[in-house]
Amino acid sequence: MAVQHTLRSPARTVHAGQHTPHRSPTRAVHAGQVRMALICALFVGCGLVLVWRLYTFQVLDTTRYQQLADNERHAQIPIIPSRGALLDTNGNPLAVSVRYDSVYVLGSLVGGAEKADKLAAMLGPVLGMPAADVRAAIDPASGRPVVLRSSVPSAVAEQVQQLALPGVYLDKEPVRQYPEGSLAAQMLGFVGHDFTGLAGLELSYEPELAGTPGVIDTEKDTAGQEIALGRRLLTPPRQGSDLVLTIDRYVQRVAERLLNQAVVTNKASGGLILVMEPRTGNILAAANNPTYNLTADEIYNPQRQDLYRAKIITDQYEPGSTLKTIAMSAALDSGLVTPGTTMNDTGVAVVAGSVIHNWNGAANGTSSMTDILIHSSNVGMTWVSSTLGADRLYEYLARYGFGQPTGLRLPGEVAGTVRTNHDPGWTRVDQATNAYGQGIAVTPVQLLQAVAVFANDGQLVRPRLVRAIRGPDGDQDVPPEVERQVISPKTAHTMLQMLVAVHEQPDLKAYRVPGYHIAAKTGTADTPTNVGYNTALTIGSLVALFPAEAPRFVVLIRLDGPERLYGGLVAAPVLKDLAQELLSYYRVPPSP
């Protein structure tokens, strides 16, 4: 390799007339080599400095710079799991999550007032909004995004995207939708803006419905886009599970329609209808009135918090004569009475100094146990409770599940109020009144669960609202649970026969369903106040099992504060319509 050095030092420049001292070529070469050495040293020095800096960057401060670099390009993209759906027992969706685009505008990026006018004129027709409204929402000086329209269908979102307007962008957001409208609103509940359950099943099954969010740990470029060749660590989300409810949308709809009609007809303040399959504990319908609108833009109204409770388990009430069935079955099961056992109903009974009257003040004379139920005699039930004794009465009430939560997984369940002979303040009057459903408070589900015992050969089956959970790991069935044997099968059958006699009494003839036997008991409970009972404000109710030979349905109908005070008058017509609908819908053949 040839290296050429061109020496151009001023000392070597020869000017005209100037004396040039003699310099030997060897010295000149030496000077050049020194310069070369200096330059080399300079380069080597610079190189060393660079190496040193490189060493400090790469070795000494590795962590710090790695952190800075990571922060610069590192991105964690959350993956929100889709919330599970609520399905009726046949798989029809009652509540589903669907993602929709929301259209935002960032005023500062629009580019001034004139462009904002143009933007409003272009965007208004696409969004189906007046251009003036769109323009009013745009503040060209504002740096905060404003929602122009949420829950935009994908076709509209595509049109917005094609317009490519500056400052306008789309964001996908999940929205909870209710295809059946407000059906079973108090059971389903609703979610908040953060998409967490706030009431009903949405709240109590939040862990199953919500799922677990995932994340993409990745690197982004300067435009904020994911770098294709960058690091990418995916933690997949766990999607929320679907709940298959026991509710049948048709039965629920029928129950709601009949309840609303009954409330209007009877000028009641509200009411409820519960329909359950006794063998499985499946709640087919749980209708409430009043209820709330699930399709409203803003579901929650802080001033109407009472609407959002699942009243079938949160509100206790005095059941009245419907509870006579329980006390009577206890006496029968104990072997103390038979359906044919008689007593003398004088219309008045005195217990520990307190006078007890029949609901209509009538004296029914010699009455069998079946007659006591038919006439709904308070005096007769006072006799039964005294025959039964306090210990047996409260033991049976406990075995029927009164005073204990049913375990139905809804928020806010109460246990009811049962004051036993072991509790302070208890008197013998309590023993008498409890037998006909006064001085004791139960929840509607507790009463339904207890009455269903007559259809289950004396077994107590736990009611349920969810029959299966369909998750990412497969389907998980929620099997029916038999709690315990409460009464003997024979007593259960006897009770059904006695209750058929109650429903087929002449007073209720108009409410029979042709071809079918129905076991039923009506009830009318005065409303307790601070100074006794308000007899002008009642709760009219009815429990029924049908068809009586092998009950497929157990029903509770309750109307609060009806104009016509009595359960037999207000609830029995509803039962007839409901039974006809259910029997034909489920194609139940007539009684033999």
């Binding site: 390799m1 040839a2 290296v3 050429q4 050095h5 061109t6 020496l7 070529p25 060897t26 070469v29 030496h30 080599q33 029809n92 969706p93 589903v96 669907v98 993602r99 929709y100 685009d101 269908p153 994908s154 996908k172 939708q177 295809p179 059946e180 409208g181 059906l183 886009q225 994911e226 770098i227 294709a228 060749l229 949308r249 048709y250 709809r253 042709p514 071809g515 319509d577 006809q580 609908e581 034909s584 053949p589 007539p590």
Partner: protein, 149 residues
Amino acid sequence: MSLTVDGFAPQRTVPLRGKGGTRQRGDKGVSRLPRARTRPRPRPAALKWQDLRLPVLGRLWATAWLPSVLVAGCLVALMYLVQTSGVATTGYDIQHLQTERDDWQLRNEQLRLELAKRRSLTWIEAEATTRLGMVRPDPTALTYVKVSR
């Protein structure tokens, strides 16, 4: 090696032993250095393409190994570049397709909801009673017929 300093042309070139090239008399440090007394180590003879004793490939290698290595290096670099570029493009294509898939899934979700709404009892009843003029059937109209087997 030949070292030329400007203004000092070499007067005579003395061939040196071995493959070291030529040395000039004016070379700094060369002319002043005493001649090496030790006998230089003999170097192995370089392969030459004219050497007929070598096979054809060997002769070719002897001549073209440097360009071959350079070309091969360039090819490898080019292939890496093409591959990297391809992967990057594919990555962005995948991202684009994922976005497109998400859009279709979103549209699918919305259509399913629309379908569910159309199948809802509320909608069916409203259509039946208002548009089609249907009426609710009388439940008592149902009659069961006993058939002997």
